[in-house]
């Protein structure tokens, strides 16, 4: 049988060659090259989404000539676990240690770039791949979860806080090194718009105005500091987009553009209080645009189906024609996006794609004994429901160690100051205060998720259904937390600063690079929600 297929393939190839045309049928026979551009901490802010205060021409081009997704999510809004999900096709709660931030990545979870490399693909990456954490193979040797690094080219960055990696230049090196006869896959892992930012760079270098920000989310104060912080973030997003633009131009120049599946996204929402590291809508909602004329039925479509990062591995293996079962990867839960790409309709396509599950285990250390803040949640078109399993813990990390689960920033420091002046301050409570065991938000009226309606009798039935649906799925997915084994996530050692809180409490003053000493609370706080 195999020989027959091979023969058939050769004949088809010969015929195509004879015809001398790269027609659609032949293109379909060859897997596309893959360019995955993943920004670091970029929320759903782009021209294609209607954002006026960030210019993203490259992303917009991908969307316009391809597909724009309005309901794309990562199940977990923190770098390492989000990327682990994207790379393995497994859910957060199916990833053992890799569900945590800063973990030791288990050797048994093979990633799809590793599979592509094994199958003869030319696989490379620049800057941030899977990180942060330690990923060694069973023999203790470091793994390349996202391919061979290309980081030699440097450029002078627009601000000292932006990376000097010449991402697009490194992509050129990668392409130059690509063998003619093999498909390639490149991971563009920008380091922007991750913290920190050059304060006021958005205004002073980006030429933006504070008034450009059309709306400050309801969970932050509408304040000059916050607006500057948002524009400084915008300036860094634009850096990511510029390099993406250069990469697209390079592909065009080489005649490779239309043979390349371009996926542009971000690992999760922006590095601001209550977004990155949380499980609200803005935390897990990510930008997503895909371009590939050879595989997309009708370009320029806007897709409202719910998709998440568990699907990426299945999609890549699908287009690479690799049987997942024979890939050596652990069983994956995601589904290929091929039907969405090959459909010719906009809006909702697959009625089963009507929700996503989200969650959180340990992210940054900073609670006693390295405890995490476990959450599971479900997002539907109308609602976001969260179950906080340990509501007696501080969601953003303990006050006395500076709420380490939220990156330090001018916005963070501002809100902490306001909270110190008045513990009933709404923004302090929303961003850093304790949470009840259940949260329910009506996304139609409250996309910022600031008005918790879990106790609203009128929504009791809705809440019950969401809870049941969520726990039913989590059980089917073998989530240890559904079977009383949730504490396993707290027990895995952290690869960075283990025992931070306890060491800090002993007066040892350990350093956390992402923390601002001003943010530690001098006095105890009454932890009421």
């Amino acid at each position: 049988m195999k020989w027959f297929l091979k023969l058939l393939a050769s004949v088809t190839l010969c015929v195509s060659l004879l015809e001398g045309a790269a027609d659609a049928e032949a293109a379909e026979q060859r897997p596309p090259n893959i360019l995955l551009a993943i920004a670091d901490d970029w929320s759903v802010h782009a021209g294609a989404y209607g954002t006026k205060w960030i210019k993203t021409p490259a992303f917009d081009r991908v969307a316009e000539q391809g597909l724009l997704f309005t309901r794309a999510y990562t199940p977990m809004a923190k770098c390492a676990p989000s990327r682990a999900i994207l790379l393995t096709g497994r859910q957060l709660w199916q990833l053992e240690e890799a569900a945590n931030h800063q973990p030791y990545f288990p050797a048994k979870f093979k990633t799809w770039p590793e599979v592509l490399a094994e199958r003869g693909w030319h696989v490379g990456c620049t800057a941030k791949g899977w990180a942060p954490g330690i990923a060694n193979d069973a023999a203790g040797r470091p793994r390349r979860l996202t391919g061979t690094p290309y980081n030699a080219r440097k450029a002078s960055p627009p601000t000292p806080k932006i990376s000097n990696n010449d991402y697009a230049g490194n992509f050129v090196d990668f392409l130059d090194a690509a063998p003619k006869d093999a498909p390639w896959c490149f991971w563009y892992g920008a380091l922007e718009p991750h913290r920190s930012y050059e304060y006021r760079s958005g205004v002073e270098q980006g030429g933006k105005k504070l008034a450009d920000v059309d709306r400050v989310p309801g969970y932050w104060p509408d304040d000059e500091t916050v607006r500057h912080d948002m524009l400084d973030y915008a300036f860094e997003v634009e850096h990511f987009d510029r390099h993406l633009g250069r990469m697209i131009d390079e592909l065009e120049k080489r005649g490779l553009l239309d043979q390349t599946l371009i996926i542009v996204t971000s690992d999760h929402g922006m590095p601001f209080p209550r977004v990155k590291g949380y499980a609200y809508h803005d935390s897990n909602h990510v930008p997503l645009a895909i371009r590939w004329p050879g595989g997309i039925a009708r370009s320029g479509r806007v897709i409202d189906d719910f998709v998440d990062f568990t699907d990426v591995a299945a999609t890549v293996l699908d287009y690479a024609r690799i049987d997942a079962a024979a890939s050596g990867m652990q069983p994956m839960i995601g589904k290929s996006w091929r039907p969405l790409l090959e459909s010719d309709t906009s809006g909702s396509i697959d009625p089963n794609r009507d929700h996503v599950l989200i969650g959180k285990e340990r992210t940054d250390v900073g609670r006693p004994h390295d405890w995490g803040y476990p959450i599971r949640g479900i997002v539907t078109r109308d609602y976001l429901f969260l179950r906080n399993y340990e509501p007696t813990r501080w969601p953003a990390g303990n006050p006395e160690t500076g709420y380490l689960d939220t990156d330090s920033s001018p916005t963070k420091t501002l809100i902490l100051r306001q909270g110190r002046a008045d513990r009933s301050n709404l923004h302090w409570r929303l961003c850093f205060g304790m949470r009840p065991a259940e949260e329910l938000y009506d996304l139609r009226q409250d996309p910022d998720c600031v008005n918790n309606r879990a106790g609203d009798e009128a929504l009791a039935k809705v809440k019950g259904e969401l809870l049941e649906r969520m726990t039913g799925e989590l059980k089917r997915q073998d989530d240890p937390r559904m079977f009383g084994r949730g504490d396993m996530f707290d027990k895995y050692p952290s690869a960075s600063k283990p025992g931070f809180y306890d060491s800090y409490s002993r007066g040892e003053k350990p350093k956390a690079g992402w923390a601002d000493p001003e943010d530690t609370e001098p006095n105890p706080i009454e932890p009421t929600p």
Partner: protein, 528 residues
């Protein structure tokens, strides 16, 4: 003017000299002692349910030393307290159970008396529960009996006084007030002893809802069937969430001592939840599960205030510059069951009730963050405090100073076995009198009266939850034999009387009636 200045100067020198002398030889001792605060509810002990964060108590572990196996010789309130004071087992200090008719004999030698004699200023504030008036204290301000949670009446040097507020806060306020007004020329011993988190576990009103309606993980043994060879004592106790837990325990009935205003706050938290409970009409395991959740909210809510109290006391020491020269000890009279085996309460030789927290901060002596799993006991406290103060301990005290352990040294002959004996029966929880030996790994226990004669063996290495009796397992025959002889030796060393010479009053206020007597067993007769 000159004379006044001179006077001040002289006084200042005297103060400095006194402080200097104290610093050299006699540290202050702050002893914070709660009631039924079990290690599962102290976060630095790291139990897997992660029930609560106790940052202030943990501070003592971080800045001092943690004892992971501090055992009590008789796991109930009064006897444990009598042991702390005297350094003796119940059978020598005479206080066997919580029997109001048999008050503690305050004429015996206690460590506060000896410290007082050695120049210490001594005080006890809070729970006493030994029925007789405290002796050996320059100042005492205690709860009568068990005390109550809200607006507790107290007794100050024999005079009844009323207090408003929550008992843990009141005790903390009074403790700090005493520290402020103390004679600063002397070192001090302050025993700040809480009622919390004793039954019926009523939290401060500010802590109602403190846990944001968390659903607590259940212990593995919540629905223990008392099988695996375990005997009558297990099956016939009366301390389960299923059968013993009252409406008052469940907060379905409010305590009577609340003011109307406090009652409104109480109702605002409990009433909507109670209403939901009543409508759900739970039974069987669902009811137990609900009770367990309510119990955890309340018990742990009490701990919140205790932890805050520790924080306030430590802050006072910091602010007054007393930290360096003050030994701070946090402990409790015994552990407690938090749903394990389906139980609340204590009394048993089992780990949950036998082990009590012990954290000691002694600046410049203990290494911050140090810990030991050596077998120590509240029996050792008296000799430890005397040793710290450089006062010789009487020969008849039965513990051993912990000072070497605190200095990071372990004496080669440190105890490897510990003698335990519980008496009170049948009231209030039908826990059969039992005694036994506890080692690092094993417990050999004899449940001996009034209607049974059963030996049990637990092996913590194999069965850390203590759900199996290995006594008849041939593989353990040699172990049992060895433990039996060690137990007899321990009883001899502890001067434990033969069982038939234990005074019948030891077993409690209410006599055992209508209990089938085991056939052919020699026993102490029940008079009355």
């Amino acid at each position: 003017m000159t004379r006044i200045a001179l006077l001040c100067w002289t006084a200042a020198i005297a103060t400095v000299a006194a402080a200097g002398a104290a610093e050299r030889s006699q540290p202050n001792i702050l002893f914070i002692f709660s009631d039924d605060h079990t290690t599962q509810a102290v976060s630095c002990y790291g139990e897997s349910r992660k029930l609560i964060q106790t940052p202030n108590i943990d501070r003592l572990a971080n800045e001092g030393m943690k004892f992971t196996r501090c055992l009590v010789p008789n796991s109930i309130c009064g006897p444990s307290r009598a042991t702390v004071l005297t350094g003796k087992y119940s059978h020598l200090n005479g206080f066997y159970g919580n029997d109001p008719r048999r008050p503690f004999d305050g004429s015996q030698t206690t460590f506060p008396k000896l410290l007082q004699k050695a120049g210490y200023q001594t005080a006890i504030v809070g729970k006493w529960h030994l029925e007789s008036d405290p002796t050996g204290f320059d100042y005492w301000h205690i709860l009568p009996g068990q005390g109550i949670y809200y607006n507790p009446p107290m007794i100050r040097g024999g005079e009844r006084v009323k207090h408003e507020g929550y008992v843990t806060d009141v005790i903390t306020d009074l403790s700090i007030e005493w520290l402020k007004n103390r004679d600063r020329s002397k070192p001090f011993l302050l025993m700040s002893q809480h009622k919390a988190p004793h039954r019926e576990w009523a939290p401060a009103l500010r802590h109602l809802g403190w846990d944001n309606d968390r659903v607590y993980p259940e212990p593995e043994t919540l629905f223990d069937d008392y099988g695996n060879g375990r005997g009558l004592a297990w099956r016939d106790q009366d301390m389960t969430l299923a059968k013993t837990f009252t409406d008052r325990d469940a907060k379905l009935v409010a305590p009577p001592s609340l003011t109307p205003e406090q009652r409104r706050e109480w109702d605002a938290y409990y009433e909507p939840r109670n209403e939901k409970f009543r409508q759900a009409n739970l039974s069987g395991q669902d009811l137990v599960r609900w009770r367990y959740q309510r119990y955890m909210h309340d018990y742990l809510g009490c701990i919140k205030a205790v932890d805050e109290s520790v924080g306030r006391l430590l802050k006072y020491l910091d602010d007054e510059g007393l930290t360096e020269n003050t030994v701070v000890v946090y402990s409790s009279d015994q552990g407690f069951f938090l749903g394990e085996h389906g139980w609340f309460d204590k009394r048993w030789i089992l780990e949950e009730s036998l082990t009590t927290p012990l954290l000691v901060r002694w600046p410049k002596v203990t290494r911050p963050g140090d810990a030991t799993s050596k077998l120590v006991s509240v029996l050792d406290f008296a000799q430890t405090f005397l040793d710290m103060a450089g006062v010789p301990a009487p020969d008849d005290m039965q513990g051993r100073s912990l000072v070497p352990l605190l200095k990071g040294q372990t004496p080669a002959d440190w105890r490897t076995g510990f003698y335990y004996h519980y008496y009170e029966f049948p009231q209030p929880h039908r826990v059969r009198p039992h005694y036994g030996i506890v080692t690092e790994r094993y417990k050999l226990v004899h449940y001996y009266r009034p209607d049974l004669d059963e030996w049990e063996l637990y092996d913590l290495h194999v069965d850390p939850r203590e759900t199996k009796n290995f006594i008849n397992d041939p593989a353990y025959a040699a172990t049992v034999k060895e433990l039996r002889s060690q137990l007899e030796e321990l009883r001899r060393q502890c001067k434990a009387p033969p069982l038939d010479q234990v005074p019948p009053e030891a077993y409690g206020a209410a006599p055992a009636r209508n209990i089938r007597q085991p056939v052919g067993q020699p026993r102490a007769t029940t008079r009355n």
